[in-house]
Amino acid sequence: MPVMQYIEAVRETLRSEMRRDPNVFIMGEDVGKRGGVFRATQGLIDEFGEERVIDTPLTESAIVGVGIGAALYGMRPVCEIQFADFIWPAMNQIISEAARFRYRSYGTWFVPMVIRAPYGGGVHGGLYHSQSVEAHFAHSPGLKIVAPSTPGDVAGLLRAAIRDDDPVLFFEHKGLYRAVKGEVPEGDYVIPIGKADVKRDGRDITVFSYGKALHFCLEAAQMVAAEGIDAMVVDLRSLRPLDEETILNAAARTGKVLIVHEDNAFMGIGAEVAALIAEKVLFELDAPILRLCGPEVPAMPYSPPLEKWYMLSPEKVAAKMRELAAF
């Protein structure tokens, strides 16, 4: 199995899907000759031409809205939002339009579209190049939301997203682009959207996470293992729908639940995971459901000490794991 970077998995999956289906095309800001500001689409314009790798004007609402129109006509646009932080001008098109075409037309119109957006911090991005935005969208029926943590998951889930007949928001943690390498199965590798993945089994505590924080959890699990705490680490991967079955089984298995994400806690994904568990398997619990998340400030500050203060780390996660295990 080839080993590649997270961002290579994005690029190579785009490439293979564009080769496979002439309806797949890319549009976004600087995706062409520049290959994207992170180079996720680098070289694709050379292979597929500027008709299928479209540098759009600087207009997120149009990127999504025009994508919707193209999807209605039978294309499969993969729209790039340069930074997740800049997705808000497209909110109306995503929430009011993409998410509702199928329902409002009783299934006669639908929007097979992917919206890719790099999110997350720890990259000196300050308030507007570090945000996690997934929670704002996960509330909306009609959307699917994916946030992979490994190159393999990127490939399998991005392929699934492109082939999906409904709009999928595909969030790529920019802090993982070049930091994480991993195996990517060759060929037609598809991971169904809606399945969580137990990235580490364990008997003492259950930790739910996704994105970059998932890696902190795995590292932290190593750290506390030495102290005799055996942590199960579940990668949610799909944020809407959540994989209820895996989540409830994992919670019940240890009776002790910690949810970890970079995004702030209040109304974050962790709230729904906690609520789900508290509704469906409350009597299996031996401890309060803990959350370890970003702080309640409007976004990640810029100066190095403040950014570090904001970001999670294996140490912070390990400390919380110990707290939970002690119950």
């Binding site: 095309f25 809205g65 209605l72 109306n92 509702r100 009783y106 299934g107 007949d165």
Partner: protein, 334 residues
């Protein structure tokens, strides 16, 4: 038939039959619209929003498209357009009553949120101007696929101030896409008069900023409208790109059945607006060129009334969608 040899519709290449068809669509639009108000006022349907005063603009525009081939991203007032494109009065009433079989949404959406897969009428929503981007996207896709279709979208002049209008026209201009953006300027956005909505004289004055022609046309003059759209359609099919067309219209009713315009609209102004009624004007033209007389007009009215009666009756008799289907079509079904 005792028509004059030189008349405006023939100059435009329209046969007498086509001219009459145009008028028939306009009248059908008006009469359905009036019926909907009656139904609303008698409590049979919850809501109506009118095309009254804009039938010339709508029918003239849509008549320049090819039904079943070209695409439409309409707005809520576009009753005239969706009829020309293929929607039937039955389907209109099904939506009005929110009954099963309504092709727009099967009762999910408020009435007047048109959509019809069969006729390439893209499902519309309530937030204004979003459809402009959808139309542009369809045009982009068609261009990529090498299909020579034309996409038309409509919106009000108030809605032309939304960001999506700007972004959509710019995108269409940059990519020279085969689409027509039709602003139906009826001088009001609910209660807000033109001068509080925009500071330019014509919405079409914005076209140069998007590198496309901007055309102003009298929306009460159906033939002028048709001519303007036919030219834009030809231009689009030739690959020369989009056109912004503004038709100056009047709104003959309150904004919708939820509105009461007495606080903000002087009665004399409405009277003046009636002078610009596109139906009256087209009717006069037909009399002038000898395509209509009292007898033929009477027959047409009777025929339309029957069609509407039948459609209403049919729709009223249909069941509502059963609640068992309420969770369907959130996502693709397996």
């Amino acid at each position: 038939m005792a028509t004059q040899t030189r008349n405006r519709h023939q100059e435009l290449g329209l046969s007498d039959e086509q001219m009459l068809e145009i008028y028939r669509y306009m009248l059908l639009t008006r009469r359905i619209d009036e019926r909907l108000w009656l139904l609303q006022r008698s409590g049979k349907i919850p809501f109506v929003i009118s095309a009254q005063g804009q039938e010339g603009a709508q029918v003239g525009a849509a008549y320049a498209l090819v039904r079943g081939k070209d695409w439409l991203a309409p707005y809520y007032r576009d009753l005239g357009k969706v009829l020309v494109m293929g929607m039937t009065p039955r389907e209109v009433f099904l939506a009005a009553f929110a009954k099963q079989g309504d092709p727009s949404s099967n009762g999910r959406q408020m009435a007047h949120h048109w959509g019809h897969r069969r006729w390439n009428i893209i499902s519309g929503s309530s937030p204004v101007a979003t459809q402009v981007l959808h139309a542009v996207g369809v045009a982009l896709a068609a261009k990529m696929k090498g299909h020579d279709i034309v996409v038309m979208t409509s919106l009000g002049e108030g809605s032309s101030n939304q960001g999506d209008f700007h972004e959509g026209l710019n995108f269409a201009g940059v990519h020279k896409l085969p689409c027509i953006i039709h602003v139906q300027n009826n001088e009001y956005a609910i209660s807000v008069p033109l001068k509080k909505q925009l500071a330019c004289e014509n919405v079409a004055d914005r076209a140069p900023g998007y590198g496309m022609p901007g055309v102003v046309v009298d929306g009460s003059d159906v033939l002028a409208v048709y001519a303007a759209f036919r030219e834009a359609v030809d231009r689009a099919r030739r690959g020369e790109g989009p056109t912004l067309i503004e038709s100056k219209c009047v709104r003959l009713t309150p904004h919708s059945s939820d509105d009461d315009d007495r606080t903000y609209r002087p009665r004399e102004e409405i009277e003046r607006a009636r002078q610009r009624d596109p139906i009256t004007r087209t009717r006069a033209y037909l009399y002038e060129v000898g395509l209509l007389d009292e007898e033929r007009e009477q027959a047409l009215e009777v025929e339309i009334r029957r069609e509407i009666d039948e459609a209403q009756e049919y729709a009223e008799a249909q069941p509502y969608e059963p609640v068992e289907t309420a969770m369907r079509h959130v996502y693709k079904e397996a």
